[in-house]
Symmetry: C2
């Protein structure tokens, strides 16, 4: 952009990533003097914590997404750019895109995380994870296909394999997925088949930790485990996956190694920061922080580069006690709001105290009307926790129609235990386009 | 299935296809003595006439689909089989599936139609059509990507190419798609871009016929054309597409050939019956009817095979005056209901008079609050026709939540001209899965 002498020089803020952190930063710059460019490779903001609802047919992709341009259309100082960031050149203050380059005065990197298979990338094809809309529709197709495969088969061994589901990772995603899958098998699909009983499905939740939801208290873990077991979920703790093949998982349990014939394996375990982390670490000459994340100063800037902020799942930020902050939506949102405030103030020549995370509590839902919640010292589970979860998620969903639609979908499925979005759609890879 | 001596012999009816015709047949057999197997390669019933709404971001795939198992769960004599029919062996009375075979006593073939590129299959990649959910999400991504491409470009020629859309075929699908695209460009995306004006988009509707919607009266055609022009759609009639390449279409107009630089070309023209037509024609020793369809007796049975009924887009049925019936949803629904009645009666030893199509009218919608309708001798357009269209489509949508959700989506987009489902999602073919 040419800077004409009559126009005041407006600093250019580039934000990489339209997730919780990037979007909150952009919104926080609404009244600032900055010209903002938000770069994302997707044209929509995604409410990631509800991806498991798409994966289990409860919600449609568009109900947990909102077009970035739509969200930001009334904020004229922001332009959205649909492109893929290749790397960041800290020295030239430039973001390298596919075919072009964006120079910045201030940079916010909030590119998020992807799956991490602990060095076993060959597991990816057998055990898909849940980070994108495409992941969710792929998992949905796998889950529903498993029941179809069992119904189609005459071989009891194949039926049993098809109806065995292994979920790797008993954090929030794995627990919520297991709960939703339990609902699906025991209630939603109950009358749908003629040759199999879907409630015979075996759902195995596997984790190396000694309890589910290790970030919560032991009481909440126990409540969650109890709710899961009521939905028929088998929980294997202190158990590590050592091999994943087609229709097969090997798990090392405290009492020895077992191989389970399972038609469906889903990955809800390790995450790794976006590849941009490597570009930033190299450019700034830094060693990676815990989990490969990028170390940041207390004000979330990149050490040695006060013009660059790193947020969300990409940043190795810590709380006041030095404990690393988890890669969850509330952290990303608070960091985004902080970044917007810090940059606005800096453009006016004001300084800002360091970022402090306010832990507002933990919540996980396990099927219909069952959840666990910890807010401050309050711990509760069951129906009240579920209602709280519902309210918070409805409140945070971006975009007005989505909220209303989601509320109706949930109300309906609460009353009927049905799930409307049970579509098996295929990507081009799985099946060729239909021939004439 | 073994037939034990104590159980009465229940005739096996196989229905191929869970579209309007197949589903109506299955429902019509609810109180019959038949054991019914409904085979479809998809696990859901699709409300095809609204696919263009998915393609233009107005509705989500799940809002115009309903799981077949869910629809039929309370009809215990029907089992759904998710499989792909390879061919029909009329002599052995067997339907050949991917890995197995189903024998039948009575067969209903309602496998529908696919696109037909008039011998130019190489056009398929440049000009996708609109028959499946995947088609619709692919078209949605192309349409939205076109605006992104223009916004990203600095080259005015490329911007103009990106913002030129050619729709081939001015039947109901082409007209409704053109109207929805006009709405999208002029209203929905109005504030979304910073470097381009989406309303500058050029939308070209091309057809070889002398008017749009040739199945309707000339007055209705004129009203539809007028509504389209108000949305900025350019209509080229008596015009044939002679070549389609990347970013280019060649069109033969009455005054000579023109090549248009167009980033997006969509196919809403020829259809051909499913490949099963060939299998039936060969097996029965018949010549194909108009458009490659299968000729049928007045009771929709295959000539020489009273145990086989052919319905919907696959059948070359005619009205009382001998005029071929069009490949539209009302014909398929009425034929399906007729087939259910005929088979139920035949199982009780009763005969049924021939099928007669009752033309309840024609309807096409062109953007917000604009439509044309012809019911009997009544012809109307504008707001009343649009309300009628809305009521009929809400009424026919299968599944209760869908109806409510669609009503809300439409109410919301009517009031705000927003479209909630503007997601650019990619199939595995277009972009590799994200790397860690």
């Amino acid at each position: 952009m040419s800077r004409s002498p009559v126009e005041p020089v407006r600093p250019h803020v580039v934000i990489i990533g339209g997730g919780f952190a990037g979007l909150a930063t952009a919104r926080g710059l609404a009244r600032s003097s900055a010209r903002v460019t938000l770069v994302d490779r997707r044209n929509f903001h995604l409410f990631q914590p509800l991806l498991y609802q798409v994966a289990t047919g409860g919600l449609s992709p568009a109900e947990i997404s909102a077009p970035l341009r739509g969200i930001l259309s009334r904020q004229p100082n922001v332009s959205v750019r649909l492109d893929e960031v290749q790397s960041v050149d800290l020295e030239r203050r430039a973001v390298i895109l596919r075919d072009s380059t964006l120079t910045y005065d201030l940079l916010v990197v909030a590119a998020g995380a992807t799956h991490h298979y602990f060095g076993h990338d060959e597991w990816r094809q057998h055990a898909p994870g849940l980070k994108t809309i495409e992941d969710a529709t792929r998992v949905r197709a796998r889950l529903l296909d498993a029941f179809e495969r069992a119904e189609r088969s005459d071989d009891p061994v194949e039926q049993e394999t098809a109806l065995t589901f292994v979920l790797v990772g008993a954090g929030p995603t794995g627990v919520e997925l297991a709960g939703a899958l339990g609902e699906l098998a025991h209630w939603t699909l109950r009358r749908d088949f003629r040759r199999i009983d879907p409630s015979r499905a075996r759902i195995l939740l596997v984790d190396g930790a000694p309890r589910v939801l290790p970030a919560l208290s032991e009481a909440s873990s126990a409540a969650a485990a109890h709710s899961l077991e009521r939905l028929g979920v088998e929980i294997w703790l202190d158990s590590l996956v050592t091999a994943i093949g087609p229709d097969e998982v090997t798990i090392r349990r405290p009492d020895g190694e077992r191989t389970v014939a399972a038609g469906t394996v889903l990955w809800a375990s390790g995450v790794a920061p976006s590849p941009l982390a490597a570009s930033l670490l190299e450019g700034a000459g830094l060693e990676p922080g815990p989990g490969g994340r990028v170390p940041v100063e207390p004000d979330l800037t990149l050490p040695g580069h006060p013009e660059v902020l790193v947020l969300g799942d990409l940043a190795a930020a810590a709380d006041a006690a030095g404990k690393p902050l988890p890669g969850v939506a509330p952290v990303a949102m608070q960091q985004g709001r902080y970044a917007g405030r810090l940059l606005s103030r800096r453009l006016r020549g004001q300084s800002t105290p360091p970022f402090r995370y306010r832990d507002k509590g933990q919540l996980a839902v396990i099927g219909r009307a069952a959840a666990v919640a910890e807010i401050g010292r309050a711990r509760f589970s069951g129906y009240p926790a579920w209602v709280l979860w519902l309210l918070i998620h409805i409140l945070y969903l971006a975009g007005f129609t989505n909220r209303l639609l989601v509320l109706i979908e949930w109300g309906y499925s609460y009353l009927t235990r049905r799930r409307g979005a049970r579509l098996i759609t295929r990507s081009a890879e799985d099946s060729p386009p239909e021939e004439p």
